[in-house]
Every structure is written in structure tokens, then in C-alpha cells.
């Protein structure tokens, strides 16, 4: 299968039309919510409270038993320690004694040792009955001390010795002792933690990316503001970031901006922003095509051109931009904020990015190779002291893929334009908001994408509200 056929199939798949959701669908869906959440929320709360209570009770018992045992250890003479060793050796055999067997062995031991063994057995019984998180095997939270030492062992030394003990580490009871012998403090910590639905803490890496994005955004904003200070339009295209900030402020105040305050070209340029990487040349021209971002019906596409001048000084003079639309391939087209009559600049300012958009309607059946548009930038290079021409073309295949396959810059610029049009009264606000959210999710480091997502959602909820806010 050749690339043309592939592109054609992709185009047909991507352009599958879809109506808007019927009125009331969202309400119908929301009406199902309370039944579910009330039932599951209460159950979950009861369950988590139950588990927390069990763990706290178990921790309390273990603390008590440990304290009693330690006290007994401190008060017992060495001979009794040897007797306990004999009992322990006979009792904790490698043959996995069961609890009844252990109880019988303890009962047969000298009376003086019974008190200690009973405390141990009680700990085992308590742990087995009180501990909520088991896999079926009884868990002893504390263990018998080592028997072979003459000096009085500490609790920690006893636990370590149990883990290394020659006697019975394979049986259920003693094996679990060796494996799961946390000190009481650990059990207390565990008991204090809600076992289900842990809140996702922000990852440190994400926080660092966020900080970096914020710094980059601030830097970009400053750079953009410096451009605004030198002039609001370039090639007749508004590059004034203040337009966006005023619209944003209006929305954040709960008001919808008035239609005439929305300069779509300014929004396009705000969201297109600076290039992700510093271009190698003093002047670069980007040209890109795609289907329209929302309401993909018919053969509508977006043509974008962006001129970047990364150098801080003026490097291009007597610049002209020309967009030639091929009428053999395009039925209709309209500039989005671009004033074709003002397509010349005496000098392109440095550290500048200028983006223009055209919406085109492709003729039916154009081939992938057919030329759709040509963008030509002519200027006098200050550094080289000569005329330069950059010319780039868009063809049918450039509009065949999904909009989501376009570059992030293109998606931001085109979606910013469509969003601006919804602020002026066009429909599809909900779909714009959804696209913006997808874009923000795919580009978590891009502050502009997040802004567009947030504000598109805000304005979508205001749909139907007349614009009252003052803007540009």
C-alpha cells in the first residue's frame, strides 16, 4: 500500500463526522451519580475505619505484651533463662509445631516458666485474632528471646536472635515470628495509616518540572512583553500578549469578554509562543497544515506560518510575507487575524515570533501531492548584507493526518484561534475545552497548554452568558 492510499484512508477516518450530544445527556448521566457514590462512599468509610481500629487495637496489645515481657526479663535470674531455653528448644522444633502442641509443651514446663510462656502464647493469640492484615497464617508480632546468652538481652537483640535462631524457623508460628517481627513502634505507625485510597502526593520530579515551566513561562512572558513594547502588530498581525491577559482576567472575574475585545490573532500568537528550541538561523519560517481542531466536518484545514527571530537584535529588514493559496486545491479560505494588506515590515524585531493562520476548505478529491499553499518570506539579512528568500509549501498530504498528529505549537495556535472564535460567539466550546484538556494532558510542562485548557473550560461553562467584560 502506497503512502497516498494510506493518507487517504487516514483522512477519511479522521474526518468522520459527529453531532453534538443531545440536550440533557449530561444531566441524565449526573443523575446516576448519587446512587453510586452514596453506596460506595459509606461502605468504603466503614471498611477503612474498621481496618484502622483493628490495627490500633493490635498495636496496643503488642505494646502491652512487649512491656510485660521486657519487665519479666529484667527481673528473671539466669537459671530461669536456661530453663526457658530448654523449654524453647523442646517446644520450637523444626517440625512446625502447631499451636495446641505448643500449648501442651508449655503446660508441661516448670511452673516458674509458665508465666512467661503464657505471656508469649497470649501475644500469639492476640496477634492472630486482632491483626487484620494476615494471609491466613498466624502472625506473632513479638517473639521469645534467645536462650543461649548469659546476659539479659534487649528486645531488639531478642528479635534479631530469633531470626538467626537454630530452633524452628520453618514452622508456621515461629517462621512467621522470624519474618514478621516488627517492633511495636512500627505497628503503631501502620495502625495510624488509612490502608485504602492513598492520596497521590505530587512527585518531586513533577514539582521540578512545574517550577521549570513556571520559570520558562515567566521568561517567555517577559520576552513577549518586550515585543509588545516595541509595537502591537507585525505584518498586520497582533502580537500583543496583553490581549490574552485581559481576556483571562475577565474570565477569572466570572465575566465573559465582549466579542469585540477578542483579538484572535493576538490569541494565536500568545499560544503559539516562542519556539521550543532556539533556531539555528537568525530568521526561520515554519509552515504547517492540519485538519481543523474541532468539528471536523468537510475538508476544512488550518494553514499556519510562523516566523522566528531568536536573535536579540534586528537581523532582517525590508521583510515581506506572501501567502499564495492554490485555487485549484482550495475552494475557500479565510485569514484568521491576518491583514494581507499589511504584509511588509521595515524591520523585523529581534526575539520575536509571529504566527499567522488561514482556514482553508479543500476541494474534493485532491491528491496528496497537490499543492495547497505556498508561504514566501523575503527580507534583507543584516548580518549577511544580502537578500534572502525562504519559501515553503503545503500539500494535500499535510492535511491528511489527524490534528492530534500536528506539532504542539500548531495545535496550540489553531486551538487558541478556535477558542477565540467561540468567545466571539461560535459554537463547539465544549469540544474546544476537551481538545484543550487533551493537549494539556499531553504537554504537562507547557504552561500555555494548561492555561488554554483551564480558560476554555471556564468559558465553556459560561456558554450562553452575554459578554460584558471589557477587554482590548
Amino acid at each position: 500500500m502506497n503512502s497516498n492510499r494510506k493518507a487517504d484512508i487516514q483522512r477519511r477516518l479522521a474526518l468522520a463526522s459527529v453531532p453534538k450530544p443531545p440536550e440533557g445527556l449530561a444531566d441524565r448521566i449526573k443523575a446516576d451519580i448519587p446512587k453510586y457514590l452514596k453506596a460506595t462512599g459509606n461502605d468504603r468509610q466503614r471498611h477503612s475505619r474498621s481496618i484502622s481500629l483493628n490495627l490500633r487495637v493490635a498495636a496496643s496489645f503488642l505494646l502491652l505484651i512487649s512491656a510485660v515481657f521486657t519487665a519479666v526479663q529484667l527481673m528473671s535470674p539466669e537459671e530461669e533463662m536456661q530453663s526457658m531455653k530448654t523449654v524453647a528448644t523442646a517446644t520450637y522444633s523444626p517440625a512446625s509445631p502447631s499451636l495446641p502442641e505448643l500449648q501442651r509443651a508449655i503446660a508441661a514446663a516448670p511452673q516458674e516458666e509458665v508465666r512467661v510462656e503464657i505471656a508469649e502464647e497470649a501475644a500469639a493469640s492476640v496477634a492472630m485474632t486482632r491483626t487484620g492484615e494476615t494471609d491466613g497464617a498466624p502472625v506473632l508480632a513479638h517473639a521469645a528471646p534467645p536462650r543461649a546468652r548469659r546476659d539479659m538481652p534487649t528486645v531488639e537483640e531478642a528479635e534479631r536472635a530469633i531470626q538467626n535462631a537454630e530452633v524452628g524457623v520453618t514452622g508456621n508460628l515461629v517462621g512467621r515470628v522470624a519474618e514478621a517481627a516488627p517492633p511495636p513502634a512500627q505497628m503503631a505507625d501502620v495502625a495510624g495509616v488509612t490502608p485504602t485510597f492513598p492520596a497521590a502526593a505530587p512527585a518531586p520530579q513533577a514539582a521540578r518540572r512545574e517550577a521549570a515551566a513556571t520559570a520558562a513561562f515567566s521568561k517567555e512572558a517577559k520576552a513577549a512583553d518586550s515585543v509588545a513594547a516595541s509595537g502591537d502588530t507585525i505584518f498586520g498581525i497582533s502580537v500583543d500578549p496583553a490581549v490574552f491577559h485581559r481576556i483571562k482576567a475577565t474570565l477569572e472575574q466570572g465575566e465573559r469578554p465582549s466579542a469585540d475585545s477578542v483579538n484572535i490573532a493576538a490569541l494565536v500568537n500568545y499560544f503559539a509562543g516562542a519556539p521550543a528550541r532556539k533556531p539555528r538561523r537568525d530568521v526561520t519560517l515554519e509552515v504547517e497544515g492540519s485538519p481543523v481542531p474541532v468539528g471536523v466536518e468537510g475538508r476544512r484545514g488550518m494553514v499556519r506560518f510562523t516566523i522566528d527571530t531568536p536573535a536579540a537584535k534586528v537581523v532582517a529588514k525590508n521583510a515581506t510575507i506572501e501567502i499564495d493559496i492554490n485555487h485549484a486545491a482550495v475552494t475557500t479560505f479565510r485569514p484568521i487575524g491576518v491583514d494581507p494588506a499589511a504584509a511588509a515590515e521595515d524591520a523585523l524585531p529581534g526575539s520575536t515570533s509571529i504566527t499567522g493562520l488561514y482556514e482553508v476548505e479543500l476541494r474534493p478529491g485532491i491528491s496528496a501531492r497537490e499543492r495547497v499553499a505556498t508561504v514566501t518570506l523575503r527580507y534583507h539579512s543584516v548580518n549577511e548584507n544580502r537578500e534572502r528568500v525562504i519559501r515553503k509549501e503545503l500539500r494535500g498530504r499535510d492535511f491528511a493526518g489527524a490534528w492530534t498528529a500536528a506539532s504542539r505549537r500548531h495545535r496550540l495556535a489553531s486551538l487558541g484561534a478556535v477558542w477565540g472564535e467561540t468567545l466571539k460567539g461560535a459554537a463547539s466550546e465544549a469540544e474546544v475545552a476537551r481538545r484543550a484538556e487533551e493537549l494539556a494532558t499531553q504537554s504537562p510542562d507547557d504552561s500555555r497548554a494548561r492555561e488554554l485548557s483551564r480558560l476554555a473550560a471556564v468559558s465553556s461553562r459560561m456558554r450562553g452568558t452575554p459578554g460584558t467584560g471589557s477587554g482590548g
Binding site: 492510499r5 484512508i9 497521590a200 468537510g298 491528491s367 469540544e431 494532558t441 504537562p444
Partner: protein, 187 residues
């Protein structure tokens, strides 16, 4: 001015709130996603009324399955999976088979300039949908998820537990099969 929480973090917070029984958070989830779920289902079944019913059914299943969502994929990706399965279950139900030959019931309430046209008439759209539905399941899901669900390749790879290269191979294979079924010619 700048958001302090990433979109992924916001999604996690939203999910945590819903799991804790916050109905406002659940409604926000609906507002964010229902139109996209509807659009996907509409492209799958070609009937807006049926798509609306399936959308409602999708969210009913989503509430019940929320506890099992592990957050590996994006929320909409998970929802799309449920929607897709809901659609398949619907067409497999006895006495409720959705004929793929039914004409589209597209209600275009469009306010854009009249110069806009639909890419294909209802018959062509139905033909395309029928061809897609005849693809093998793995290819069909990949094609519909990417083109009609709007899921990026990476997300599809995540929920399918395979590589992005494998997803792209699936797409390529699907195009080959569709070409044969549709009888495409370069014009």
C-alpha cells in the same frame, strides 16, 4: 496565575475526591468527558440516540469500576475502553443488533458558515464504519481508539500493554485491510 498542579495531578485529585464520595467531583468528571465519550460512540454506532444511551451506560459502568482504575492510563483512555466495550456488548446482544447498514442519523447543528461541507455523505460514512467493524478485534480497537476516540498512540500502547511500535504496526496493517475492503484508488 500559574497552575500549581499538573493536569495529571489534577486528575488524581479528582479521582481521589470521587472515590471519597464527592458528588461535585464526579459531576466535574462528567462535564469534562461526556461529550468526547458521546462523540466516540457516535462514530462507532452511527446513531446519535443510541450513542447517547450507550454514553449513559458507559458512565454507569465507570462508577462501578472506578475502584479498579489504577491510573496507569489517562482517565479518558480508561473511559474510552469502557465505552468501546459497552458498544461491542450492545451489538452482540440478541434482538438488539445494530445494523451497520443503517444510514447515519447525523444531526448537524452547525453554526459555521455554509461553505463547510461534510467529508462524505451518510452512505460513505456507513461504508467506512462497516469496514472498520470487520477488522480483527485488535486492529479495530486500535483504529477506532486512535481516530474516533482521539487517543494518542502512546495511550493506546499503555492500555494494550504493548509498545508504540506495535501499535503503529497495527495501524499500518489495518490500513492495508481497509484498503482492500474499500477499494481505494489514488485520485
Amino acid at each position: 496565575m500559574t497552575e500549581q498542579v499538573s493536569p495529571a495531578g489534577e486528575e488524581r485529585k479528582l479521582l481521589a475526591a470521587i472515590r471519597a464520595g464527592d458528588t461535585v467531583a464526579a459531576e466535574e468528571l462528567v462535564e469534562r468527558t461526556y461529550s468526547a465519550v458521546f462523540a466516540s460512540l457516535c462514530r462507532l454506532c452511527g446513531d446519535s440516540d443510541l450513542a447517547a444511551d450507550l454514553t449513559q451506560e458507559t458512565f454507569q459502568k465507570a462508577w462501578a469500576a472506578l475502584a479498579g482504575f489504577d491510573g496507569r492510563s489517562q482517565l479518558f483512555t480508561w473511559l474510552y475502553r469502557i465505552a468501546y466495550t459497552t458498544f461491542l456488548n450492545h451489538i452482540r446482544r440478541p434482538r438488539r443488533m445494530t445494523s451497520l447498514d443503517e444510514p447515519d442519523a447525523i444531526d448537524v447543528r452547525d453554526e459555521r458558515p455554509p461553505a463547510d461541507e461534510q467529508l462524505a455523505d451518510a452512505e460513505e460514512a456507513s461504508h467506512l464504519r462497516e469496514a472498520v467493524m470487520r477488522l480483527p478485534e485488535d486492529l479495530r480497537f486500535t483504529v477506532t481508539a486512535h481516530f474516533w476516540g482521539g487517543l494518542p498512540v502512546k495511550e493506546i500502547a499503555e492500555i494494550e500493554r504493548i509498545t508504540t511500535v506495535a501499535i503503529r504496526k497495527r495501524l499500518h496493517k489495518a490500513f492495508s485491510i481497509l484498503e482492500g475492503m474499500l477499494g481505494e484508488e489514488v485520485r
